[in-house]
Every structure is written in C-alpha cells, then in structure tokens.
C-alpha cells in the first residue's frame, strides 16, 4: 500500500539493455509455427531493425524471442508470370539488387532506395517491415499499391490476407499471436505502366512524413487507362484513395488531372504527432500526389513511345 491516490508508485523508464528472454532459433517453418503456438508473450525476430530498438528500450519485453534467421525456406524471391512471390525473410538488400525486381517491379526498387541505410537494408526483411507495419514504411506502401496477398501460417493452417485487410491499427496487423507471416504474392504491374515513388522525409533514410506511390497505365488514346495510388503517413495504414483513382480514369495525363487528384488527396484525413501536424501532412499529400502522378505518367508515356 503506497499512500493516498495522489501518490503514484512508479518505475524508472530510462533503460537501454534488453530485458531477459528465452531465445529460440528454429531452423524450419514448422518448428517456428510450433513455437508460436505454444509460447506466450513471444515475439518473432526477423532483421531486427525495428524490433531490436524496441527491445533495447524495453518497449518490447517478450518472454520468448523466436529468431527466424535460420529458417531458410522463408527466404525466396521468384518471378512467376505476372506475380512476384517473396518470402517473408527475404532481405531488403536482395530485393534492392534484384535485376528482375528492377525490370518487372521498378516501383519497389525505387521505394527501397528510401528505406533506411545500407546497414538497415542488409539485415532488414520484407516480412519484418510488413509485420512492424509502420505507417510510413516504404515497403508497406508498395505492397498496398500493388494489392499484395499476404500468406500467414499457424498450427491451425494457412491464411491468405489481402493487403487491404492486413492493417488493424497503429503498428498492429491482423495476424493473431500464433500466426507467422511466411510470404507475399505481389501482382506485378502491367509492363506498360509507369511508376513513381515519391516521399518527403526530413533526412536521407528517415521514415517518410508522407509518401505517395503511383502506377499509371495509358490506353490506346494515350489517356489514363488504369491508376493506382498509395499514400502513407496519413493513417495507420497506407491509403488507397479509390475515388481519386477512379477520377483519373479516362483523363489526359497532364496538369489538370494531376491537379484535381492532388486537390482531392489534400482533403484526406491525416494524423498528427508532436512534430508534424495534420495540415502539413495533408499539404504534403497534395503536393506529392501531383509529383507522383506526373512522374508515373511521364514514364508511362516513355514506354508508350518506345
């Protein structure tokens, strides 16, 4: 009993060494899934670039740490027809340097250029980024843009989750505690599509304040035949603004269309934090949408003209 209600019994929070945990390093997917099924308060360790800072700060204090770095079956990168199949433990570095990704999915390559730094991408994984689900994460944005399908495994079986349903809240995904993200299937853009990934960050490698990715395909008349936009930094998950995408259809890929789309993007709801307010984020959404559309359209035109 510690006094009356005015008094709060509190602990220090200036800590920077991990709290104790039991470490597990399965070498197969089935072992990993077993562990997740039976252990309480367990976290999965992938590249460690997001989780380890949290563990060092003791924001995360798991009793069990399941290290996936030896589960080699989770690292794969295959272009199959019009999809890209990527294992959850595929390193960002491998995506970055993949010639196939560069040629078939250049928006991902462009996005990766903004992800952290060399050291981050050497260790960081696609699955780790998706499961951490930072509102500004570039890879989360691109997965939303492409409309990826995420594959989760647990002892209860396999579950496929469309990206649009994957986000459950701030830094929270739809995965249950016993589920492991094992990989994604990413529909590849049409070869004629132009792409863009633009973001505004304070410094090189920082998380974006707002990011906008876009895919534009042109029809036979040179007008916009398909458009996809993903905006990050406005909400807990990337926003696919359906009405803006629809509004672009059939439009000439030029200033008037970009301006109208941008203006609409500037009206979207936005979150705020101690550093950036909602008004600025909405402003950036407007400005970056314009730039992304302009660049994607230009690239589409380049492809059209050969």
């Amino acid at each position: 009993m510690l006094g009356c209600t005015r008094h709060r019994c509190e602990k220090t929070h200036n800590i920077m060494k991990p709290a104790p945990f039991t470490y597990h390093d399965p070498s197969s997917l089935s072992d990993a899934v077993d562990l997740l099924a039976r252990l309480d308060n367990a976290r999965v360790l992938a590249g460690g670039q997001s989780l380890m800072p949290m563990i060092n700060f003791r924001y995360a204090m798991p009793d069990h740490l399941i290290d996936l770095n030896n589960v080699s079956e989770l690292a794969y990168l295959d272009c199959e027809g019009d999809v890209l199949r990527v294992g959850a433990m595929t390193r960002q570095r491998d995506l970055e340097f993949s010639a196939e990704v560069r040629s078939r999915c250049p928006v991902m390559t462009e996005a990766l250029g903004h992800v952290g730094h060399r050291q981050t991408r050497n260790r960081g994984t696609l699955g780790g980024s998706l499961c951490h689900f930072d509102p500004s994460a570039e890879l989360v944005n691109v997965t939303a843009l492409l409309g990826g399908m995420l594959h989760a495994e647990s002892k209860r079986g396999r579950r496929d989750i469309p990206m649009a349903d994957f986000g459950a809240g701030y830094l929270t995904t739809d995965l249950s505690p016993d589920e492991l993200l094992v990989g994604l299937t990413l529909p590849l853009p049409a070869t004629g599509d132009g792409h863009a990934f633009v973001e505004f960050a304070r410094r090189r490698g920082d998380f974006a304040i707002v990011a906008c990715s876009a895919l534009i395909g042109l029809d036979g008349d040179g007008n916009i035949g398909n458009a996809a936009i993903a905006l990050s930094g406005l909400a807990h998950a990337p926003v696919r603004p359906a009405s803006i995408e629809r509004g672009l259809m059939g439009e000439k890929p030029a200033h008037a269309a970009f301006k109208a789309a941008a203006a609409e993007a500037g009206e979207l709801d936005a979150t705020e934090d101690a550093y950036t307010n909602a008004a600025y984020r909405r402003h950036l959404a407007r400005v970056l949408t314009y730039r992304a559309l302009e660049r994607a359209a230009a690239r589409a035109l380049e492809k059209l003209n050969g």
Binding site: C9, T12, R203, H283
Partner: protein, 780 residues
C-alpha cells in the same frame, strides 16, 4: 627557433590508435572487480518524492546496492553540487543534490543508484525500484514561467527567476528617442543539445588504505572536477585524482560536474570495489546539459544612412531546473550581440528562468550563435526596410581595423571589459562574399526562378571571445632518456591537442614532432588546470607549452654551456642536440643534458643549477582574444514541401596564427555542421508538462553527411597581440555565425512571398505555414 612544426598540417599522433580501434574511452576502461551502476530516474518533470522501495531490486542476484538520498554519507547529503561560477546577480543559486532530496525537478533527475555485476542486471534492478511520486505542476516554458500565478519550478522558492542582470553601455533611451528608424524583432531559439557520439561516463575507484578516490571520467577538464570532488566529499588534495581518458566529443556539457559522478564515488567507497557508470543514449537525451530556449525581443535604432545608433532589448533565457554554470551562458549571449559593429548605445536586460527541464550550459557556440542570429536579423531588417544591400548595411557599421583595440563598453563573462584586440571585419566580409560569388547571385537566382526554383543567399558576421582565463598550464620535461613529455590540464575531446601542443614544443626544443608526447587531463601529473571548452586551449595551453619550452631551452643551454665550457649565447637547439652555432659537431644531446640535470646521488649539483630539465608554466591571459568570421549560405527552398537545401557554403575565418591548418579546418567545418543542425534540424521537443518527447535519434534530427554541405574556407590571419604565439581560439567559429547565415538565406529565398523568419530551427512545416497559399505551388 625556426618554426618548422608551427603552421604545418602534420598528421595527428592521435590517429593510429583510433584507426585501429585502440582508443581508450571511458567504457573501454576495465578495472578488476568492477561493478556497474544504473540510475533510477524521475519520470516526472516535477514531483515530490516519497518512499523508495528497494526490496525487489535488492533481491535480484548480482545486485550489490541500491542507494537513495538517505543512504548518502552526511557530507554529501548536506550540500548541493558546487556552483562553479557564482555571481551576485544569481538570486536563487539552486543546484541539484547528488540524488533528489525532496523533489525531482526534471525528467531524468537521479533518484536512486543501483550497483550490480553488469549493466543488464543493474537495469533489471532499476526497473524494480519503486518510488512514490506526488506529481506537481511542471514549468515547461520560460516565458510562461514569468507570468504571475505561474507554477514554481522549485517548491518553496520565491519565483522562477534564477538571475537577472543588465548589460549596457551608453544611453539607449536618448539614442532611440531621436532615431530616424527603429525596428523590432522577436526571435525564438529552440532547445538543442551537444549529442556527442560518445555519451557521458565515469569509473570511480576507491582505495581504502589511503582513503582516496580515483575518478576516470569522460570530461572536458579533470582539475575542475577534482575540485568539485574535494568540495563534495571534504577531502584533501592527496585524496582525489581525476583522469580523463580519450573522450568521444564533448562540446561543452562534458565539462560539468554531474550527480552521477558523486554517486559512483559513494558506491565505490561503500562497496570497496570500482564502480562504472556509462550513460546510455536515452539518459543522454534526458540528463546531459543542453542549450536554450531563448526568447529575444530586440530593437535597433538607425539614422537615415543605416548607421546604428543603438540596440536594446530583453533576453529571456531558460536555465532549466538548476544553474550549474551560473549565468555564464546568457552573459556570453548578451555580450556577443554587438559583434563587429559600432554600437555606441546598447542595453540588454537578461533574465535567466527556471523550468522543470534539464539544465542549459554552454554547448558549442555557448550562447554566441543566438546573439549573432539576433544582431544579424536586425541588420537584415534594416537592409530590407531601407532597401539597401545587406552587405552595405554592414559595411557602414563595421568597426575598422585601425580602431583596434576597440572597447565595446560592456563587461564580458570573465569580468573583463569586452575589448577586441585585433581583427579586420570589413576584410572578412569582403573575402567571404567574394569567395561565395555574392555578386553573381542575382544571376543564379534569376536562372533558377525561370525553372520555378527559389534560391536565397544570406550571410552573417561574428566576433568571438576566445582564449579566456584564468589559465592553463604545461610542464615540459626532458627525461633522462632524452624523450620529451608535455603535461597539461587541457582535456581534448577531438581537438587534436596531443598533436598541436607537440608541434609547439618541438619547435622550441629543436626536436622532431614525433619525439614529444603530450599527456593531458590527469590531476596527478600537473597540479593546476582548467580544461578544454570555450575555444581556450590553443591560447592558454599553447602559450604555456611555448613558455615552458623556452625555459627548458634556456636551461639546456645553461647546462650545456657548463658541459662544453662555452657561452650560452653561442648555442642553439637542433635535432635533439644543443650545439655550437657555426661548429655544429660540438654538441651535447638532450639526453646527456637531462642526465646531467638530475644530478648524481651524493654529489652536489654542478654550477649550483636547480635540478631537472623541465619547466612548468601557467599562461594566465589578461582578457579574451577575439576571433572573427563571416559565413555565407546559398540555399534552395522547395516552396511546396518547405524543404531547404544548402547549395553552397563559404566561410571566412580568422583565428590568428594557426598551429595546424588541417586541424583548424576540421574544427571550422565541424562547427558548421552544428550550425546546420541548429538552423534546420535540431529541436528538443517537450510537452506541456515538461516531458521530453525527443529522446532518440529518430526524432531529434542530427545532421547527416547528406545534410552538411561542402564548405569552402578562406583563412585570414590577424595575430593576437595578447599571447606570445599570436593565437586565437578556433573551436567554435564554425558554429557561431552559421545559424544566422542559414536563416537569412532561407528568408531571402522566400522574399518574393514576404516571409520573415524569426525562429531557429526553421522547419519545412513552418516554412509551408509561413508561405500559406504560395506553398500549393503547381497544385494551386
């Protein structure tokens, strides 16, 4: 002596060890049986402290002690940490106790000290210490703190005013009354910190047999810390030794005496084992001293020709929860305002205000950058209002070189009148503008405008007091093996003293620079010292080394003359020998002379000479010597995102004669990086309850290699008349005018939109706010 080493960009002695990973920083020090400390810190900015429950923490295996205030020895308990620079204007000289006594006054204030086998266990235990807190209203804003009815940062104090003082010369009232033009600027300069790459740390070792302490500490001055330890523990000179090893950056705050050092010394004494404490980065954000907030409200009065008649205003300075450096920081700010301009009438009222945040003490620039921002904003305002070229406004107001030495009329923080000893301010600005192609800027701006891009140019002049006293010392000793050691109280954290001071000694002694070893910052090896901060070491320690070496030469000649039976006047030192001029084969080595100088057991000293081939000198400057410089920044602002990028950066820098040009360049460019950070990126954000929000490097933005521009340097050299080598300080000149120049450039880029910038840092969000509709750019 020929200056063979002085002025040469010799490669550093420090480097081979650092490059091999063999530096010896505080966390590299391992003593046998060493234990590790972690601190329990207040999570509240202001709270009364009740019961502290330690049982759960003590139950963890590997935990040796949990100390709270009541566990401290009497002598430590009854006094606050020492105030190093007292001043009568400090009405409330409040300093912390080693552990919070009745109330915690900032988030992070140490409340208990846990000692354990390793840091991991110490942190596990620290998390289990339960402290009863009664949260109290916290003071977050130093202006609000002055309002009637504001909560008190310290319970039971009279007010939130720590100190109040004016700095003035002449009669500003009448100057302003008759002025053709009066312009007013209100400027806010945001909190920021040093954030050296190495955090703080110390190792305390107690020897029961002699009742003495050794404290290894990553500091900026061992001797001052020894004095604090003596005061704190009431000990004799023989009972404390403080040693500063390699230090990974300091920038000011590592010079302070912190409560953690007292605690580990107590723990070491109680447990009879060495205790190490290494600050982690989270603690660094909470508890290492910072600088600012400062709110400036200043006016300038000029005549019809833009000549300054007077400057006056008020500075509200935030000292944080305590005043560890007294009023040094705001005093430096106030006395730097006049800068290189003739200001016959000046009055600044300064109030230093308590808040419930970590204290502010000098951080690279030490209040001068803020003063330069204020003065240069006023000058830019005059230019804008009177439609004059900003460079011309400065030219009409510069102190001319023929006016040196120039009495500004105010008193500096060292108690001496601000007297500029030397410097050519018009030449500095002219050289900088020339090197920056200021004249060609209009063309560049037009070309960019046609592409829809917005460029701006800004510049700032600064005069910087350096080489302040009271002294620094050096012992130059030639040992019986002929090897030369230089001992000094200087405490480098990257300033290359082990190289530059060796250069000075080598020149005098006629030896190779490799033959001199400089040992720094150990209270056992030189009795008196002050430390390395405030751009003072080249002047003070450099002069001491020089003077001591001269004495050693004289002595060497004296002894050699006796050995060679010739006249001292016919001798010279070269190549490690004392030799006869004109007949250089007649010589004695320094080794032989040193051997002679220490005598032989049982024999009287020959020639009645005092023993030893060594000398200790303490150079004590009469007053500061003034460096100066001009920075020119050319920026591009993206008006749609508010992002500002520095395209070109030019510095003219005059720090008198230069010992090692490569080292000085490094100091200047390194200083510019701090300025870039303070101008565009670094904001220490607190919430309304004085809770620090920016407590990691993801949120507090340090400048990266992609943020700091390439800097073009122009050197001018007006030697100081105040020390034998003509030196002036160089450590902070890169920072001092930088913020002002960058802000000015950003404002210049946004001039077409009528945007005025009155804050630092200036962020993209703020720029977009100021631009209003214009920020919509092409999307409008």
């Amino acid at each position: 002596m020929g200056a063979k080493w002085f002025g040469a960009s010799v490669r550093r002695k420090e480097d081979p060890a650092f490059l091999r990973g063999k530096g010896r920083y505080i966390d590299d020090i391992k003593l046998p049986d060493m234990l590790h400390a972690a601190f329990v810190r207040s999570p509240h900015a202001h709270a009364r402290i009740g019961r502290i429950v330690k049982s759960a923490a003590l139950a963890i295996p590997g935990v040796y002690a949990v100390l709270a205030y009541s566990d401290l020895p009497d002598v430590v308990r009854r006094q606050m940490l020492p105030l190093l620079v007292p001043h009568p204007s400090i009405s409330q000289p409040l300093l912390p106790y080693a552990l919070a006594k009745d109330e915690a006054c900032y988030v992070g204030e140490p409340v208990a000290c846990v000692v354990a086998e390793n840091r991991y266990i110490a942190e596990d235990a620290a998390q289990l210490v339960e402290v009863e807190y009664e949260p109290l209203p916290a003071v977050n804003d130093c202006r609000a703190a002055l309002e009637p009815g504001a909560p008190l940062a310290h319970t039971g104090s009279d007010s939130n005013v720590a100190a109040e003082f004016p700095v003035s010369v002449g009669d500003t009232d009448s100057a302003f009354r008759g002025a053709a033009h009066v312009f007013r600027e209100k400027i806010f300069q945001h909190r920021g910190g040093p954030f050296s790459m190495e955090c703080r740390g110390a190792v305390a070792h107690y020897e029961a047999a002699t009742q003495s302490h050794t404290l290894y500490v990553a500091s900026q001055g061992s001797h001052r810390l020894k004095r604090c330890m003596l005061d704190m523990f009431e000990l004799g000179d023989n009972q404390v030794r403080v040693v500063t090893p390699d230090v990974g950056g300091g920038f000011g705050p590592k010079g302070s005496y912190y409560p953690e050092y007292v605690n580990i010394a107590v723990a070491a004494m109680t447990l009879n084992r060495p205790v190490k404490w290494i600050e982690d980065r989270r603690e660094n954000f909470l508890t290492t001293h910072q600088e600012r907030d400062q709110f400036w409200d200043a006016e300038i009065a000029v005549d019809g020709d833009a000549k300054i008649l007077g400057v006056r205003g008020r500075l509200i300075h935030e000292t944080g929860a305590y005043v560890p450096w007294g009023i040094v920081l705001p005093w430096i700010s106030a006395t730097t305002v006049p800068g290189p301009y003739v200001i016959p009438n000046f009055k600044l009222d300064v109030v230093s205000v308590f808040t419930n945040k970590i204290q502010t003490t000098p951080v690279r620039g030490a209040g001068r950058p803020e003063a330069v921002v204020t003065m240069e904003r006023l000058m830019d305002r005059v230019a804008r209002e009177l439609k004059l070229d900003p460079a011309e406004v400065r030219r009409r107001n510069f102190i001319r070189p023929e006016q040196m030495p120039y009495e500004v009329g105010i008193i500096f923080r060292d108690g001496r009148p601000v007297t500029y000893d030397s410097g050519d301010y018009p030449a500095s600005q002219a050289a900088a503008l020339e090197a920056a192609d200021y004249a060609g800027f209009a063309g560049r701006r037009e070309a960019a405008r046609r592409e829809g891009r917005y460029l701006g140019i800004g510049f700032a002049n600064a005069v910087e007091a350096t080489g302040i006293g009271p002294y620094e010392g050096a012992t130059v000793r030639v040992s019986s093996t002929g090897k030369i050691a230089v001992y000094t109280g200087a405490a480098p954290q990257g300033q290359s003293h082990k190289t530059t001071l060796a250069q000075i000694a080598a020149d005098q002694l006629g030896v190779g620079f490799e033959d001199v070893t400089v040992v720094t910052a150990d209270t056992a090896i030189i009795p008196m010292g002050i430390g390395t901060f405030s751009s003072r070491t080249a002047v003070n320690a450099g002069s001491s080394v020089h003077l001591a070496a001269i004495e050693v030469c004289a002595k060497a000649k004296q002894i050699a003359a006796g050995m060679m039976e010739c006249s001292e006047q016919d001798l010279e030192l070269a190549d490690g020998f004392v030799r006869l001029k004109g007949a250089p084969e007649m010589k004695r080595s320094l080794r032989e002379i040193a051997l002679k100088s220490i005598g032989m057991p049982g024999f009287s000293m020959a020639g009645g000479l005092p023993p030893g081939l060594e000398h200790t000198a303490y150079f004590a400057p009469d007053r500061a010597t003034y460096s100066n410089g001009t920075h020119v920044a050319e920026v591009e602002v993206d008006i749609e995102t508010g992002s500002a990028k520095i395209l070109r950066y030019t510095v003219t820098h005059d720090c008198g004669r230069v010992i090692n040009p490569m080292v000085v360049d490094g100091q200047v460019i390194g200083g510019v990086a701090h300025g870039v950070g303070n101008a565009l990126l670094e904001r220490m954000v607190y919430d309304d309850n004085a809770q620090p929000i920016s407590t990691n490097f993801g949120e507090y933005l340090m400048p990266l290699a992609t943020d700091v521009p390439h800097v073009d340097l122009v050197h001018l050299e007006t030697p100081s008349p105040l020390n034998p080598l003509g030196l002036k300080g160089a450590g902070e000149g890169g920072t001092i005018p930088a913020i002002a120049a960058i802000i000015s450039a950003v404002e210049n880029a946004l001039a077409p939109f009528g945007v005025i910038i009155a804050e630092a840092p200036i962020t993209p969000q703020r720029i977009v706010e100021l631009l209003g509709e214009h920020a919509l750019g092409r999307t409008r």
